[in-house]
């Protein structure tokens, strides 16, 4: 047994009266990978930040010891929690490097990517500009970014996956011993997630990096760590070698986490009979965004045709930029198509104007990805849910209140939440409220645009189940847009796979494993799989 690099003893974190973490202990040996798993609120991110002493200067009180073994064998271990600011800064990045959940915003928007990485090198090694530049280029190359072409790019010119790679390069340039990755792939598409996880695995092999991988998703952690530690409400519920924990979970919470993972081999639920009446017919739809300053135009949706039957649920799957959201927005007439025709219940959608259009909007509703920003933060959720009814002419307060109460209950929210503001609710509760708002007008067609992507797996499973139930009860026709095939499969009768604005494959959910298109196969392979146990 080797001496651990990092020894955490009885780590406790409290934000005022709220306890985030109550006594976490673990050891990390060189080259090993530890997974910290739990839902939001389990204290896993607070724990990650404390490893680098990032709670310093905030309201958080951190107790316990975080012992880091220095590089030279003779020196004493450093307690991150007790170290002075200068020591702490010399450890940050150099010994323990961290990458974050929000790759889109974690790079400085005002500086070139390469320069940001070089600056970190200069800070720790007092290196010359030229040397730092070389190191930064090498680090970029290491994470698969063409340093010659991209060194001088700004973060906004990078995709989410590229930005996370750049952040990993920033970590690598200092040759740290431990990488703390806090939900590094949660904000990314499954395909990009697969690439980033593969990259982390490769770096562990190549440079013997120790890894602490934090996620709400056991499937993400499962294939990429040696040991796993499950957290719930700030306390450890289970730990052990990953294979043992996955094969024989002891605690019910771990079992719940495992059960919540959307799996491609899960049995499909019984579908309600689909009628043969066509509710929606899209023919040769094109949406083109004009190019700016001589740049080429973007064909977001490129000649899409499809039919949707009354009561059917169609899954639309693809990566960011595949045009799936633009398609969804065109169908509810939030986006004007460049050409093509959309027929709803036999009538041309584009022919509606003014009052007729407003009337028809009742039938078409949209649920957004991020309920935190799609609900008005300055209104109680009850009022937000009631608003569509008010817009459509309902004035009687008692009727409104009764309708909202009924729907709140139906989506699994307590009536007492009527006056709560969105920030006072959890992510899952907010999305339930958003669903209630979409359903209050009793629409015929609901377009769900990535409705569960921002949620933990456990919450995801609950919301998916709710959508399935509501679909039957309200006789809804659904369009379910997501980047994860395993998620889409749970709610769809048929699945349309989109790539670069086109539908490359359209097939029944039950026959997904028979997919022919190479792009569909890529998506299938990107779904994180638990290691075979």
């Amino acid at each position: 047994m080797t001496t651990p690099i990092l020894t955490v003893e009885d780590l406790r974190i409290a934000f005022g009266p709220v306890t985030a973490l109550q006594g976490l202990s673990f050891e990390l040996e060189p080259g090993r990978a530890l997974g910290l798993v739990g839902e939001s609120g389990s204290g896993k991110s607070a724990a990650a930040l404390s490893l680098l002493g990032l709670h310093r200067g905030t309201r958080a009180e951190v107790g316990g010891r975080i012992l880091l073994r220095p590089r030279s064998a003779e020196a004493d271990a450093i307690d991150v929690n007790a170290a002075d600011d200068v020591t702490l800064r010399s450890i940050r990045g150099r010994e323990l490097a961290m990458i974050f959940q929000e790759p889109l915003t974690s790079l400085d928007p005002y500086h070139r990517v390469g320069d940001q990485i070089a600056a970190v090198h200069r800070l720790h090694f007092a290196s010359s500009h030229e040397e730092a530049r070389k190191k930064a280029s090498a680090a970029l190359a290491q994470v698969g970014i063409d340093a010659d072409a991209k060194y001088r790019a700004y973060p906004h010119e990078f995709s989410g996956g590229m930005r996370q790679r750049a952040l990993i390069a920033m970590a690598l340039v200092l040759e740290p011993r431990v990488l703390v990755a806090d939900e590094p792939t949660t904000a990314l598409d499954v395909t990009v997630q697969a690439q980033i996880l593969k990259l982390l695995g490769r770096l562990r092999e190549e440079i013997g990096l120790s890894l602490i991988l934090i996620s709400h998703d056991l499937a993400v952690v499962g294939g990429n760590v040696d040991d796993v530690l499950v957290l719930k409400n700030g306390a450890e519920v289970e730990r052990g070698p990953v294979r043992e924990v996955l094969a024989q979970p002891q605690h019910t919470y771990t079992k719940d986490l495992l059960a919540a993972i959307p799996r491609l081999d899960a049995e499909l639920p019984v579908r309600p009979a689909v009628s043969s009446d066509v509710l929606l017919k899209v023919s040769d739809l094109n949406v083109v965004f004009p190019g700016r300053r001589g740049a080429t135009e973007t064909r977001a949706v490129d000649g899409v045709s499809l039919e949707l039957f009354q009561g059917e649920s169609l899954g639309v799957v693809g990566e960011s930029g595949s045009g799936k959201s633009t398609l969804g927005r065109s169908i509810v007439r939030l986006q004007k198509p460049t050409s093509g025709r959309i027929e709803f219940a036999g009538r041309d959608l584009n022919a509606w104007r003014g009052k007729a259009l407003r009337e028809h909007r009742r039938d078409l509703q949209l649920i957004f990805q991020d309920p935190a920003s799609s609900l008005n933060p300055r209104r109680g959720i009850g009022d937000s849910i009631a608003e569509p009814l008010i817009v459509h002419g309902e004035k009687d307060r008692a009727t409104l209140r009764a309708a909202v109460d009924e729907l709140l209950e139906r989506v699994g929210l307590d009536r007492s939440l009527y006056h709560r503001y969105p920030h006072q609710l959890s992510g899952g509760q907010r999305q339930r409220a958003a669903i209630a708002r979409a359903l209050i007008l009793r629409p015929k067609l609901v377009v769900c645009d990535e409705p569960v992507s921002a949620l933990d797996v456990t919450t995801q499973a609950q919301v998916v189940k709710l959508l399935r139930e509501l679909r039957e009860e309200f006789e809804l026709t659904l369009i379910f847009i997501a980047h994860d095939l395993a998620v889409v499969r749970q709610v769809s009768d048929r699945i349309a796979v989109m790539n670069q604005g086109r539908v490359v494959e359209l097939l029944p959910a039950a026959q997904l494993h028979e997919a022919q298109d190479p792009y569909t196969r890529t998506l299938l392979e990107a779904v994180p799989e638990l290691p075979v146990v």
């Binding site: 680098l52 990032l54 200067g57 702490l88 800064r89 010399s90 450890i91 940050r92 990045g93 150099r94 490097a97 961290m98 974050f100 929000e102 915003t105 974690s106 790079l107 400085d108 928007p109 005002y110 500086h111 970190v120 800070l123 720790h124 700004y154 906004h156 952040l167 920033m170 200092l174 700016r292 300053r293």
Partner: protein, 329 residues
């Protein structure tokens, strides 16, 4: 970029035309007769008609307006009663009251405001941004509270009170500075500087408070952002995080505001000029308005509008330079 500037130039011409027309229309509709004012109290009908004709007021208003516009490009001859004065292009009319072409009045007044704004802007920017950073380094601490309070205090004193206070302290009590009179920089740079000091501070102290608040708020907002957390996680000192990175988030707003404020002062600092008796555009504006000197009013208004348009364009360009995500189109 070229297309952007060209479009801006075209819209500037349109705006200036409208401004000129509005000023003309306003004074045409207003009661009061510039001719009888110019003629004086003891003026009989024949003399008045004579004055009216020399001033060109006997012609219909659109014809007067047309003369005004065309003389910008080709110049115009004015009969001032003694002989004909040729006002060469770009001619903005002739002030019969001061017996000078308007352009000459403007070119005399503008250096005053350029002098005022050049020093004042340097002062208010360094004071405002510097103190804002100072305050943001320890938010809600004593130094933050004191600097914010002082900034707010100066910002809320009307500039004519502040100017009086400065005059009282430095010229009357301690007598370390002369009573300011405007000395052109070309005449004596040292005296220019000495005389400008008080007006500079008067303007800068009133403006600095705003910049302090903007800087502080912008820095504190940036400090909560994800990319700042990344810097901290890589061992940057808090001072460097604030002064090199967090301040970047506040810069675009600061630069926009600075460009607009500089444009505003250039276009006439009425209070400062009159408190210190400086013959700038603001004073020219007030004087011409009380004398109903229509050509001067039009000229000053046009120049002020032009300066403000330039300031706005500069603000937009600066914003794009300072934020790589913004592209001019």
């Amino acid at each position: 970029m070229t297309a952007f500037l060209l479009r801006r130039l075209l819209s500037a011409v349109a705006v200036l035309l409208i401004v000129a027309a509005v000023v003309y229309a306003l004074f045409y509709l207003m009661p009061g007769d510039p001719a009888s004012l110019a003629c004086g109290k003891r003026c009989n009908a024949a003399e008045l008609a004579q004055v009216r004709q020399t001033m060109g007021l006997d012609r219909p208003v659109y014809a007067q307006f047309w003369t005004f516009i065309s003389s910008i490009f080709v110049g115009h001859g004015y009969d001032n009663g003694v002989g004909t004065v040729w006002c060469s292009a770009p001619c903005l009319g002739y002030s019969f009251q001061s017996d000078l072409p308007v352009t000459q009045l403007l070119t005399q007044a503008l250096p005053v405001d350029v002098s005022l704004v050049s020093g004042a802007a340097v002062l208010w920017l360094s004071l405002g941004v510097g103190l804002g950073l100072f305050a943001a380094l320890r938010p809600n601490g004593l130094r933050d509270k004191v600097t914010t309070f002082v900034g707010l205090t100066f910002g809320s004193i009307p500039i004519f009170i502040l100017a009086l206070l400065l005059l009282l302290i430095f010229c009357v009590w301690f007598q370390i500075l002369p009573f300011p009179t405007f000395v052109p920089i070309t005449q004596n740079a040292g005296q220019w500087f000495e005389n400008m000091l008080l007006p500079w501070f008067a303007i800068a102290l009133t403006f600095a408070g705003n910049y302090l608040r903007l800087t502080r708020a912008g820095v504190l907002e940036s400090l909560g952002q994800d990319h700042i957390r990344t810097l901290r996680a890589y061992g940057y000192t808090e001072r460097r995080v604030v002064t090199r990175h967090a301040v970047r988030g506040a810069l675009p707003t600061l630069a926009t505001m600075a460009a607009l404020d500089i444009g505003g002062v250039l276009a006439g600092a009425v209070f400062t000029e009159s408190m210190f008796g400086f013959p700038g555009l603001g004073k020219l504006m007030v004087d011409s308005a009380s004398n109903i000197d229509l050509p001067v009013i039009t000229g000053v208004t046009l120049l002020a509008s032009f300066l403000i348009i330039v300031a706005n364009t500069a603000a937009d360009l600066l914003y794009a330079v300072l934020d790589p995500r913004v592209r001019i189109q």
